[in-house]
């Protein structure tokens, strides 16, 4: 059973002891910690003996804030949790509330949700690849991946008006019908993406420095990975074949054909391979979504929950009343509790929403993959060199916004 998180005791060694262990602080402002993560390391020379993550520097009490907002007002808050995958946050929260409401979503909205969530996954993986390679010293890749990420952000901007904090998925569907040319733009983007991925692969896969920094580093056995609640690509790189999209489908993922990349290497290289392959699978899902995109409305027929169109509001009394009611009083959600989990770019994202029958959520708990992955950091780094810690942090793909919430 792996042991996580007993604090490093900083007591001086006993009289006459030849204990040469040193306690070293890393972060919170360290370029390789991807935000404000502080690690306390106990090292023997350059070998890591103990590692203890200290989090909370970005804690904003977002779960507490949710309790004082209407259900629809929580959507923009969710963007800011995992800020590299905003639409995945929106999706998870909206699915949870829709489950509480028992709301049926039009097919077109569901498909656009899948389409954009997969783009979000590619976006998240591109940032991971760029920063991970940069941590290890391959600075070039960062510039390339951010070039492609820019294209994705432009698509998000065209769809929602915002590059990062999109808030495009709303309870009951989408904020609005996407612009006309958007599917062509996405089509054009995913047509060029595979060769870009080959380009990254050319830069990194054969690179001897990159190989040596990753191969055999940060071993996480499948037993440890499951025990420490690790999810997502990190879990699949440890050989555990589980992907919520395929195994417990949500948002009509059962209608899409895709493979779930697995690696049995259990090391950082395995995680690199799995994520690279996952981007290719995401492209396939996007292609299927574009090909089979159904027509119809993008909002459910629930006037008491979804804001009416502007036009209707100006011409119909009923619509105006509904608009006024939703904005000033919100809408009541039947009492109950749901846990909705989705596969985000980093792993299992879950929203646990408890309703007491009023217009504000009684409790919103966010389960984010990075928080759990961090527990496994010590297991992966123990007995390895100090420099490997940087490679391992990069390989588990954490975002401190989602850890500290």
């Amino acid at each position: 059973m792996p042991d996580v998180g007993t604090p490093i005791l900083q007591a001086p060694p006993a009289e006459g002891s030849h204990d040469q262990h040193m306690v070293l602080n890393m972060g919170p402002q360290h370029p390789s910690t991807h935000g404000v993560l502080r690690l306390v390391l106990e090292i023997d020379g350059e070998i890591v003996v103990r590692l203890y993550p200290e989090v909370g520097y970005l804690h904003t009490g977002i779960e507490k804030t949710c309790e004082s907002k209407f259900y629809q007002q929580v959507v923009p808050l969710t963007d800011r949790v995992d800020y590299l995958g905003p639409l995945a946050n929106n999706l998870c929260y909206c699915l949870a509330v829709e489950k509480l409401l028992g709301l049926e979503i039009p097919e077109r909205a569901v498909w656009i949700r899948v389409l954009l969530t997969e783009l979000t996954r590619i976006n998240s993986h591109l940032i991971w690849l760029g920063t991970h390679a940069m941590d290890i010293g391959a600075l070039t890749v960062f510039l390339y991946t951010f070039r492609e990420r820019e294209d994705i952000l432009r698509i998000f901007e065209a769809v929602s008006g915002q590059r990062m904090m999109t808030s495009y998925f709303r309870i009951g569907g989408l904020a609005m019908e996407p612009p006309l040319d958007i599917f062509d733009r996405i089509q054009k983007f995913i047509k060029t993406l595979p060769e870009k991925l080959d380009e990254y692969s050319n830069l990194l896969t054969g690179n001897p420095i990159f190989r040596n920094r990753l191969l055999g580093v940060g071993i996480l056995s499948p037993e440890d990975a499951v025990a420490l609640a690790v999810t997502g690509p990190t879990l699949r790189a440890s050989g555990v074949d589980f992907d919520i999209r395929r195994d417990m489908p949500y948002s009509s993922y059962e209608k899409f054909q895709f493979k779930v990349p697995i690696s049995n290497r259990c090391d950082c290289w395995g995680r690199y391979e799995v994520r690279l392959e996952e981007m290719r699978e995401s492209i396939k899902i996007i292609q299927q979504a574009l090909d089979g995109m159904p027509g119809g409305p993008v909002k459910a027929d629930a006037p008491k929950i979804i804001l009416p169109d502007r036009e209707k509001m100006k011409t119909q009394m009923e619509a105006l009343i509904h608009h006024f009611k939703i904005v000033t009083e919100g809408f009541n959600v039947p009492a109950g509790e749901v846990f909705q989990a989705i596969e985000s770019g980093h792993g299992t994202m879950g929203y646990y929403v408890v309703s007491d029958g009023t217009a504000k959520p009684y409790r919103v708990h966010m389960r984010y993959p990075g928080f759990a992955s961090l527990q496994a950091l010590e297991t992966m780094c123990q007995g390895r060199m100090l420099a490997d810690v940087v490679a391992v942090i990069g390989s588990i793909d954490i975002v401190l916004g989602e850890i500290d919430r």
């Binding site: 042991d3 489950k99 589980f242 389960r367």
Partner: protein, 168 residues
Amino acid sequence: MAEAPQETIAGKQAVLEKMSDHAAVKALVAWNSDAIIEALFDRGELSLTVPSENIVEAMQAIKDAGYNAYEDMTAVDWLPSDPRFQLTYHILSHAMKQRVRIKTWVSEADPAIESITSVFPGANFYEREVFDLFGIRFEGHPNLRRIMMPEEWVGHPLRKDYPVEGYR
């Protein structure tokens, strides 16, 4: 969403009868059927409530039944009811592709429960988070310290009697 709306099965007796072949129900009945306080199948999710003093045994029983992956745990403050705090554990089975929710209650007077880290080590950070934000103690936890708030912080922010804004 694609799932057909499933009927709600409320009450311990009804769930134990109608869902007797569900792995989690079977495991808990085999372990100690009297210990199940309440059961509910709602919106496709199964919740089983057990007494707080039996939480570790219940977790072990669930784990032995194939629910191998700890997924999430949190608390809900139901001020002013008594017992005040509801603890919720979500445990997943990779093989059965199924999730079960285990609930338990702890009182305000003595907000303490045994830590489940001996069964699911992954609960470590989550229990620290609940300790930090709700002030519920976990007996036998390897490192029960605040995780989000600073060490010297007074109060537990996610409790309902803690203000959302303003000064303490």
